[in-house]
Point group: C2
C-alpha cells in the first residue's frame, strides 16, 4: 500500500505554514526525522508528518525553544507515554510551565482591559502581592474563561 497521499516540501510548507527552509532546518538539527526521499532525492511527506510539523508550529507559537520540543515528538510517535516515565515527568513539568505562561498572558490581557476601560490604573503581572494592590486573582481554573473574553474576535 503506497497509496497514502504524499506531499512535496512546498506543499507541506503551504499546508503547515512552516517555510521550506525551516522544515529543512528542523530536519538538519534532527528535530524532525530524516524525511523519506524519492528516487531523485526529493523529500516526501505524509499526513503524519504534516501533523508533526503542525505540532511543532503550535509549540513554537507558545514561545517554546526548539530543544524543549523534542520530548513532545518522542511522545507523538505512536508510543504509549506510560512506557517512558521520565518522559511523563517531562511533559508534566511542561504542562506546569504552560499553565504559568497562560497565567502571565491572562494578566497581560487584564492589564490591557484595565487600561482600556479607564486610564490611570497601573497594574502589573508578577503574581507577587505588593501593598494594597488588589488585582484580580485569575485562578488557574477560571483561566479557561479566556474564550469568553473574545466573544467574536476575527481580526
Amino acid at each position: 500500500m503506497k497509496t497514502e497521499l504524499a506531499y512535496t516540501i512546498k506543499q507541506t510548507a503551504d499546508q503547515t505554514g512552516v517555510s521550506e527552509d525551516t522544515i529543512r532546518y528542523y530536519e538538519k538539527i534532527a528535530l524532525l526525522p530524516r524525511a523519506e526521499r524519492r528516487d531523485n532525492g526529493h523529500r516526501v511527506y505524509r499526513e503524519e508528518d504534516l501533523r508533526t510539523i503542525r505540532l511543532l508550529s503550535c509549540l513554537k507559537k507558545t514561545g517554546m525553544p526548539l530543544e524543549e520540543m523534542r520530548p513532545f515528538l518522542a511522545v507523538s510517535v505512536d508510543a504509549d507515554p506510560a512506557d517512558y516515565p521520565e518522559l511523563v515527568a517531562h511533559l508534566k513539568s511542561h504542562r506546569e510551565n504552560i499553565v504559568n505562561q497562560i497565567a502571565s498572558l491572562q494578566q497581560v490581557v487584564d492589564f490591557i482591559d484595565i487600561k482600556l476601560a479607564q486610564g490611570r490604573y497601573r497594574g502589573e503581572c508578577d503574581g507577587e502581592e505588593r501593598e494594597g494592590t488588589k488585582k484580580k486573582p485569575v485562578s488557574p481554573m477560571e483561566m479557561s474563561h479566556f474564550s469568553a473574553a473574545s466573544k467574536q474576535g476575527k481580526s
Copy 2:
C-alpha cells in the same frame, strides 16, 4: 518630596528578576527611559520604575518581542490611553494576539493531557477534527490562526 525610596541597579535587578545587564540593555535601546543618575553617575530607580520593569518582564514571559512592548510602555506612564486612539488600536490588536496565544497554549495543555491520560492517541493542535476524537472543544474562532498559515510578525 524626594523621600521616595530609591534603588540601585543591583537592588532593582534583585527585586524584578531582570539582570543588571538586561536593564542597561533596555535603557540602551530606549525601551526604558534613561534612568535618573546620582552625582556619581549611578542609576537610581523608584517603585514606578520597578513596576515598569516588571511589566516588561511579564510581557517577555509571553514571548513578546521587545519592539512590540513599546506601546505598553507608552500607556504605562500615567496617561489616559483614551487620549491616544491609535495606541488603543494597538493594544486591542495585541490583546487579540494574546488571546490567540492563550488558545495555542491551551491546546498544548490539552495535547499533553490527552497523551498523559491514555497513550496511543495522536492528537495535535490544529483544530482539525479526526474520527472519534472528542477532545475538549477549544472554540474554532481562536484557533483560526493555526490553519490559516498566518505568518505573524516577521518580514
